[in-house]
Amino acid sequence: MNKLSLPALMRLVIGRDLILAMRRRADVLTTLIFFVMVVSLFPLAVGSELDLLRKMAPGVVWVAALLASMLSLGRMFSADYLDGTLEQMLLVPQSLSMLVLGKIVAHWMLSGLPLVLIAPVLGLQFDMSGEALLVLVAALLLGTPVLSMIGAFGAALTLGLRGGGVLVSLLVLPLCIPVLIFGTGAVAAVTGGMSAAPNLSLLGAFLLMSLLFTPWVSAQALRISME
């Protein structure tokens, strides 16, 4: 039977989405610029009370990351849906869940990873300590893939609907709240002199759970949306 091996399929899908994004850089930059702007505006607006800034830093960064990831969700499947390539993907003689996982990984590399990389620089504006920055990056590294995965499910479910953009936020935001709570909790714990391990472990658990379920659920949602 002619079909690709699973790793080859993943590589192909990820490579394809990365090339497409590189040819249309504005989309990737929008997410990043939004994130940088929102986070940078807070210290300017709140003023230079360092205690207050340090306290609100993790919350601001996480809320901005959550909203930035919402911003890019609409594009996850819709372009492929409109030009018919998604139909062809449903006919791939391989597990659709793996293909969806490939798309999720590509989405995270384009919308999640840049945020993780730039977060320490933004954290400096809030006078965060080195240790807190480290935990912030670790928490974002564990949390942003979860946002992409839950987002993929929402995007797949609302594909082709009019006004799907608002609906996807309504569906996905409540599901992302645990990530927000434990993500900010990790940094708050470190600044409060406690260990961040419990919060980070819980984030890790969320990551594993979503890795297990969301690709499959999103694949089913895609099949339903394409009917």
Binding site: L4, D83, P93
Partner: protein, 204 residues
């Protein structure tokens, strides 16, 4: 062999057709006919497994396609109204990626040969967005040349094609039937393959 038994399809509340039965064996060409809105596209999409039929069953080599899933997809190539090509990529990249997704990884030279046969010589590395409608359709059709699938499901393959390209399509379909392939298609134009009788199925 593709067998369709008592198939009924509905779109929303509206029933398009029911009691549809036919079989398609190796080397056969089937044209689905019918006025606009009779359910030609719905039938083809149901045969691909995108849409679940309202009633009836579709069997491929004797097994229901719902239980075959990926094994069935390996034997099918579908070409819909949409070309399924990416504007940002060039013709060669489009062809290589879509072929690889459907399971046959091809080298640049093989893909270029396929594009040239489709009359796209010199356009291989142009971004697809600068090509005309007919040329985009040719890029999409080039997939057929590289595919190893047995069953071709073609929804209006001839839209936007010029006379030469229609002739070429007839030739390509003829070759596929000669390899014991099967083709189901819809069109409002003339498509006759030399030496093969076109079976017709009219939806009404």
């Amino acid at each position: 062999m593709l067998e369709v038994k008592d198939l009924a399809c509905a779109r929303g509340e509206h029933q398009l057709f029911s009691g549809l039965c036919f079989t398609l064996s190796a080397g056969e060409l089937l044209q689905v006919q019918g006025e606009n809105g009779r359910g030609k596209t719905t039938l083809l999409r149901t045969l691909c497994g995108f849409t679940q039929p309202f009633a009836g069953e579709i069997r491929w080599q004797g097994v229901d396609i719902n239980s075959l899933e990926e094994e069935y997809y390996a034997d099918v190539i579908y070409l819909g109204h949409l070309n399924a090509i990416k504007d940002e990529l060039n013709a060669l990249e489009n062809l290589r990626i879509s072929s690889a997704l459907s399971g046959c990884e091809v080298s640049d030279s093989v893909a270029i040969a396929a594009l040239r046969r489709m009359g796209l010589r010199g356009r291989e590395t142009f971004p697809v967005r600068v090509l005309s409608q007919g040329q985009r359709r040719r890029v999409a059709l080039a997939r057929l040349l590289l595919s190893k699938a047995t069953l071709w499901i073609l929804d209006e393959p001839l839209t936007a094609l010029d006379v030469d390209a229609v002739g070429l399509m007839q030739e390509i379909i003829g070759e596929h039937l000669g390899r014991q392939g099967m083709v189901i298609f819809t069109t409002h134009q003339m498509l006759e393959v030399a030496g093969v009788e076109t079976r017709r199925l009219t939806l009404s």
